[in-house]
């Protein structure tokens, strides 16, 4: 009897599971990202392209407070190089960091100064605080992007769809000033204007810079930013699962052996 | 003996020292609402259009869970200005402005509908949105708390 119940429950999980996702906005199309699946890993070239889109487009308004330049050179990151075990030594991370001007205090006089960034510094924020960010964007606060790919249902697919999904509003939909129509955004009206355009970002690896390409690459980059340990996690998971399956097999054999003379 | 250990749970002295907030009303366009932080809770200041005021007054006699005429919910002669604690009286979520069946506020958590006077009209909330203590310092400046 209980067995039937558990089968029924399992069937219900399969049926009801997807139904949990509430949907009023248009459903984002599925994208086959390289990091999906049990052995998935980030595509480094894609992360580099995505980083470029982030830096040249997104970073003008959005902060990314959780990330430091050194993270770019971490294992799995866009500029990881196995030669540099310590990410702080990675020349790319150093060069990118040095382009940033970081607020600091002069260690002798205590006066506020600007200095070139180091890999240990965080990504600089475009606005000094949330109020300034709001004021600079017509009252809408550009959210921090560090966790964006995990903080929206739909994740990177949603981000890619949203960025490439701007359209003219259908007849009958009033778009107030300061807002833009986007069918993927819940409610349809988003404060952010279409950020991407063909060839707005030039990719160093020669990839054709379409809106869709930029959107997909930056979505992958944001996924990496939100979940930088994904590769490590999946690799360890494979090992742990293999061990557990073997261990379970061993225990099952012992169980059969212990109980072989007992009716039950 | 046990009392100090229970009393320490209550609001501490600095929390009790409630700050009052002043707000310049000229920043709010008709029909718009601002949300400001007051004692850790959201506070709504809404500049109601005449149509919204009329809709609220018209319903004064309608049956509702917590009946109160619109006139008691704003300062005399300032019918356009509604100041409310933006915390749903059901379980404390923040209602969204302009939504719901009565075009006042709609609470997304459990579906409470408030009218343009902030009165509960439908849903599980038992009471109207709370009107805090406030005073007009001038025609364009209001002090809450």
């Amino acid at each position: 009897m209980l067995r039937k119940v558990s089968l029924l429950a399992a069937a219900l999980v399969l049926v009801a599971g997807p139904a949990f996702a509430a949907s009023e906005a248009k459903k984002p199309a599925d994208i086959a990202f390289s990091y999906e699946g049990p052995f998935g890993a980030y595509d480094q070239a894609q992360l580099q392209r995505g980083y470029k889109v982030y830096r040249e487009v997104c970073a003008a308004c959005h902060s990314m407070n959780m990330l430091s330049f050194r993270n770019l050179a971490d294992r799995g990151g866009p500029f990881y190089d196995p030669k540099y075990k310590n990410a702080n030594d990675n020349p790319y991370a150093k060069a990118i960091a040095a382009e940033a001007q970081i607020d600091d205090l002069d260690s002798e006089t205590g006066d506020p100064i600007k200095r070139a960034g180091t890999p240990a510094d965080r990504f600089p924020a475009p606005y000094p605080n949330a109020i300034a960010a709001k004021a600079g964007n017509g009252g809408a606060l550009p959210p921090d992007l560090s966790l964006m790919a995990k903080a929206r249902s739909g994740g990177p697919e949603y981000i890619a769809a949203l960025l490439a999904g701007y359209k003219d509003a259908p007849a009958g939909t009033a778009v107030p000033p300061g807002l833009n129509y986007n069918p993927y955004f819940p409610g349809g009206l988003i404060a952010m204007a279409a950020p991407l355009a063909p060839d707005k970002v030039t990719f160093d690896d020669g990839t054709k810079s379409t809106v869709k390409q930029q959107a997909t690459d930056v979505a992958a980059f944001l996924m990496w930013a939100a979940e930088p340990k994904l590769e490590e996690r999946k690799q360890m998971g494979a090992g742990v699962l293999v061990f557990l399956v073997l261990f379970s097999g061993l225990l099952y054999a012992s169980y059969r052996r212990v109980w072989r003379n007992e009716s039950h | 003996m046990a009392w100090p250990f229970i009393a320490q749970m209550n609001p501490s002295a600095d929390t009790m020292a409630l700050a009052s907030v002043e707000y310049d009303l000229t920043k709010i366009e008709p029909g718009m609402q601002v949300t400001i932080n007051w004692r850790g809770k959201p506070l709504f200041i809404r500049n109601r259009t005449q149509a919204q005021v009329d809709a609220a007054v018209k319903d004064d006699g309608a049956s509702m869970p917590d009946p109160q005429p619109d006139a008691e919910r704003h300062k005399e002669g300032k019918a356009q200005w509604l100041v409310l604690v933006g915390s749903c009286t059901h379980l404390g979520c923040v209602p969204t402005v302009g939504g719901g069946d009565y075009q006042g506020w709609f609470c997304p958590c459990h579906g409470s509908h408030y009218d343009t006077s902030g009165r509960i009209r439908k849903g599980p909330a038992p009471l109207n949105l709370v009107v805090p203590e406030y005073a007009f310092l001038s025609d364009t400046k209001v002090k809450i708390g």
Partner: protein, 428 residues
Amino acid sequence: MSGHSTYQPKNAFSRWMDARLPVGRLVWDSFVDYPTPRNLNYWYTFGGILSLCLGVQIITGIVLAMHYTPSAAGAFNSVEHIMRNVNYGWLIRYIHSNGASMFFIAVYLHMFRGLYYGSYKAPREVLWILGCVIYLLMMATAFMGYVLPWGQMSFHGAVVITNLLGAFPIVGETITTLLWGGFAVDEPTLKRFFSLHYLLPFVIAGVVVLHVWALHVVGQNNPTGVEPKSKADTVPFTPYATVKDGFAMSVFLILFATFVFYMPNALGHADNYIAANPLVTPAHIVPEWYFLPFYAILRAVPDKLMGVLAMFGAIGCLFALPWLDTSKVKSMRYRPQAQLYFVIFVVTCWILGVCGGKLPDDHVIPHLKTFTLFDADLNSYVWLSRITTLYYFAYFLVVMPVLGLVEKPRPVPETISSPVLGDSDKKD
């Protein structure tokens, strides 16, 4: 339990120790020689799995607390610090957050098993009630733990749940202020939740000891519901039960690891990766999945106070269960009608869980408008949860007492080891 101990100290030290503090004897009597019914099936392995879960949560929790900052300004960032900078921090945090869900999966199966085989009936009432106390403590701990990352769901979940207590007349407001330490959920609330979240697991561990103690006094129930009568009905705990429990734990860990390593956020909510903002409530606020059935019951009742009472009553029913069930037969294996109601009950709990995750006014069958009954369309989750809530309570308050009196059970075997002639349902 049986009074007579077979423990034989093997060397001088254990003899010396046994005369002073007989720990070895206790372990021997409880986990080695302890007679267990020979017919226990895999549904009986969740007790062991649950102790494993508790251990995992305590160990990972202690480690996380070494890196976590319990402050409104620092909590969210410190969790991300754990995820990004602490060595293996991501692993420990994902084990802890998914561990809570695993804990509840196991406890629900454990409870349904007890319900099915009548494990709450005399002489196991106290054992069952201690289990209910553990369940309550687990819910409190899980709730407070979910607040600690201080994301949007954490914050507004805390707002909603603490406001529940405000529904009680007169004392309600005093209680919520006392709980918050302010006029809203804020820094003081987070700090006390952290303190209690650290404390409660050890209280749980204490009640678990009582639970196991009570178990060893009355002995384990078994799928037949017939008490063991002779040695032929039982096997010693070690190696028979230990190896079986060990195998079940290992299989359970495969499920656990699949979540931790391959879908660590599947059971969580995206909004909790947004830092708490008291001024904006997420459009769709839901608790963690293990609270959804109770959340649905809360929302099913249109009155605030009655909704809160119904929610607490739903758990209260569990405490009263030993006295609500009037059946003389313990196990539902011999109660065909009870089986049917039980299956409906399990499905009901599931549907309530689904309803709890939906907006109340959403249509169950998409795009189908029926007619409005009282305050909502009949084809809405609020009505579905009302119907299922009704059955939830009817199961405990009507089916259990009445069915026990009117149902004619199938013949029950004399002993565990003697099968009943003509019993076709032996296999389950």
